[in-house]
Amino acid sequence: MAERYSALALARHALTGAPWERAWRAAQPRPSYDVIVIGGGGHGLATAYYLAKNHGITNVAVIEKSYIGSGNVGRNTTLIRSNYQMPGNTELFEHSLKLWEGLSHELNYNVMVSQRGQIVLGHSPSQMDVLARKGNTMLLNGIDSELLDRGDLMKLLPYLDYSPNCRFPIYGGIIQRRAGTVRHDAVAWGYARGADQLGVDIIENCEVTGFVRDGDRVVGVETTRGRIHAERTAISVAGHSSTVAKLAGLRLPVEAHLLQAFVTEPIKPFVDHVISFGAELFYISQSDKGGLVFGGHIDGFNTYTQRGQLPKIQTVAECAVALIPSISRLRLLRHWAGLQDMTPDGSPFIGRTPLRNLYLNAGWCYQGFKATPATGWCLAHTIAHDDEHPYVRHLSLDRFERGKIYDEYGLGQWTYRQ
């Protein structure tokens, strides 16, 4: 049994100088498993964890082509929230937020959940009506939400631009106080360690190169480290969903796009909440190290390069300064890009596929990180029961064929405009 992390263990190691053991074993692939999860990101690791924890299925392998934490789980802007409006998403994201609230204890790993509150700003009277409707929907579903007027905001966020002539005047906003941020790397490491302790094999540097089929059934995968058989297989690979699904002969309603994120040089505590601009897609928070973390919209055309385009940096910087003029002279320390698996209605897919014993979790667009615990929970249920969890029935892969488009944002069927 692996060592429990505690204050006592910390003191013991500090005093004796004893080295810490690995957080998870460097597992070698075995010839066969009950379940293989392709993709060692947050979603894949959480799925393996809940398969073992909730369903007692411990003969599981997570196959990762690189190292744990190398993909989107380490590239996002770490926000968690549950301010959604449509039946289905409301339950799913609220379940996720509740799991986040207990996750550090659940995993015995400090994932640094910080419920600092997320504020969405309104810049016109009609936008305030929309925010009020959103807040009411949340309250009716038992989710916390509070409408703020301009005076409240001037007290809470005195550093925003409230000048009378600014391009997007601030009328008010809405706050979800239970929303906030999480240390994203710790989520990957915590779930990996938790799953490993329950018997899951986490196999890094092992890329899936094909699927083993028996008629319309998937019975295993070909990898760079040989063939591995599995009763059931799940794909959870975010940006590369199309390329992995193609190996199984599936064509998905997914396109790969880029989203850039930014960190400034560290400053003293300044932005105490997560703030979303209401006039453009822009959001900002401050990390524990002091850097302002922010992001905006996708680059606008499909690409796998993971290198962002300069004009988007300018747009995002303009948003930042329009909202908080006092940060105009801060220097950007780092910026990076992650692959978004964009879908035609802005919603993901979790569930069964046309191939038996093959399950899919893909198409998360911008929303993947905050959904990590609930996705793992629901995908594990879906795999264990060969039937979708009630929280994800609205996210089936065939919903477009059935006319059940799930457009939380109502933007039309363009992947590059979601």
Binding site: S242, L252, E401
Partner: protein, 89 residues
């Protein structure tokens, strides 16, 4: 910065253009009542990691539609032609 060769105006920044999606798809014949064909046309994507043909309109230039071929793994431009030439061809 992605630079797009416009057949009329020469190589320009991509910010002069409007992106309009996958150009390799062929629209089902007008009046087709095969709903699966329409579903596949509207919602499914090859989404290749490699050469990809896509529509761009030079909105801040000659306003012509063109088909750009670009490697999505590197953003290297392979070639471009006017969309109407492609339709006629």
């Amino acid at each position: 910065m992605l630079r797009i060769p416009c057949p009329h105006c020469g190589e320009r920044d991509f910010t002069e253009f409007r992106y309009a999606g996958d150009a390799s798809k062929v629209r089902p014949a007008h009046g087709t009542d095969d709903l699966q064909a329409w579903h596949d046309h509207v919602y499914l994507f090859d989404n290749p990691k490699g050469p990809h043909r896509e529509y761009w309109q030079h909105v801040l230039g000659c306003r012509q539609w063109l088909v750009l071929e670009r490697d999505t793994a590197t953003n290297t431009v392979i070639g471009s032609r006017l969309a109407r030439d492609r339709v006629r061809a």
